[in-house]
Each structure stands twice: as structure tokens, then as C-alpha cells.
Symmetry: C2
Subunit: 87 residues, 2 copies
């Protein structure tokens, strides 16, 4: 599965969430990671994130596709993270 | 086409980018918008954003799919924007 993750969390937890997420996904841009995950890996990532976030304050979203096919990426301005696949 | 847009721009430009993007897409979360766009609308959005951003500093990414089908969304923690379609 192709997974996009974005997080909007309290400053105290940003580094912890990013560190946990980077075990599974590639950092693309501020608060944005992407990558191919098995269903089991996605569940493990969610368990790790769940331990870190404050459910009353933080927000984490996952967009999940069966495949990266049929997708295009486009970047404007500066390229930050691993965005070599961007046109 | 289903489009996801995320931006990481200088503070002085955040509101302008958001205002421009909201003419085309739905705000989901801090720096994240989504929606269905025709190719022409996507081009118009990019033209509008191009006028605002600082190419040397700001970063805007678009993920584009032919269709929203085969996609799932999952949210953890607080739901912010129009995320009623999240499970």
C-alpha cells in the first residue's frame, strides 16, 4: 500500500512523531511523509504514533492507496525532503 | 482528478496561499487541502500559487490521482477541517 502521512501535533511531540514515522516512511516536507507499507507495518506505525500523540490536541492523517500507480507528484518552489520523484 | 496539496511557506505568505487554495480545494488540516479538480482548474491553482510563493524559500507539493477510488483516509486524534470522510 502507498501511504501518505501528515501530522499537526504540539511542538513538544513533533520530533517524537517524526522519529517514529521515519522508521516506516520517507520524510517529504514539513509534517509530510510517504512510502510503501504492508498493512501490518501501517498498524505498527499507528500503534507507535498513538503512544506519542495527545488525542485531545494533536491530529494525524493517513491517506492510503492500494498502489502508487495512477499517481503523479508535482513540486513548486524549493524541494525539501526526498522529493526526487517529483516533477 | 483527486488532488492533495500541501504547503510549507513563509509565515507572511501562509494566509495568502491558503486563501488562494481554498478557491479550489477543501482545507483538511494545517497546510493540507484536498479535492476533485479538472486539469484546467489545477493549472489555474498553480498559476495563482506561483504568484504568491517565494521560489527560493517556500515549498508546495501536489499529489494527483485520476480518481479518489482505491483510497482510504484514516484520522488519529482531533479532527480539524472537513474530515467527515475520515474513518
Amino acid at each position: 500500500m502507498f501511504v501518505l502521512m501528515f501530522y499537526d501535533v504540539g511542538e513538544k511531540r513533533v520530533n517524537k512523531v517524526l522519529k517514529a514515522a521515519r522508521k516506516y516512511l520517507t520524510w517529504i516536507q514539513n509534517s509530510v511523509l510517504e512510502g510503501e507499507l504492508t498493512p501490518a507495518a501501517l498498524e505498527a506505525l499507528k500503534v507507535d504514533v498513538k503512544k506519542i500523540i495527545d488525542d485531545e490536541y494533536d491530529s494525524v492523517l493517513f491517506y492510503i492507496w492500494r498502489t502508487e500507480r495512477y499517481m503523479a507528484r508535482e513540486a513548486m518552489g524549493v524541494k525539501r525532503g526526498a522529493v526526487d520523484s517529483f516533477i
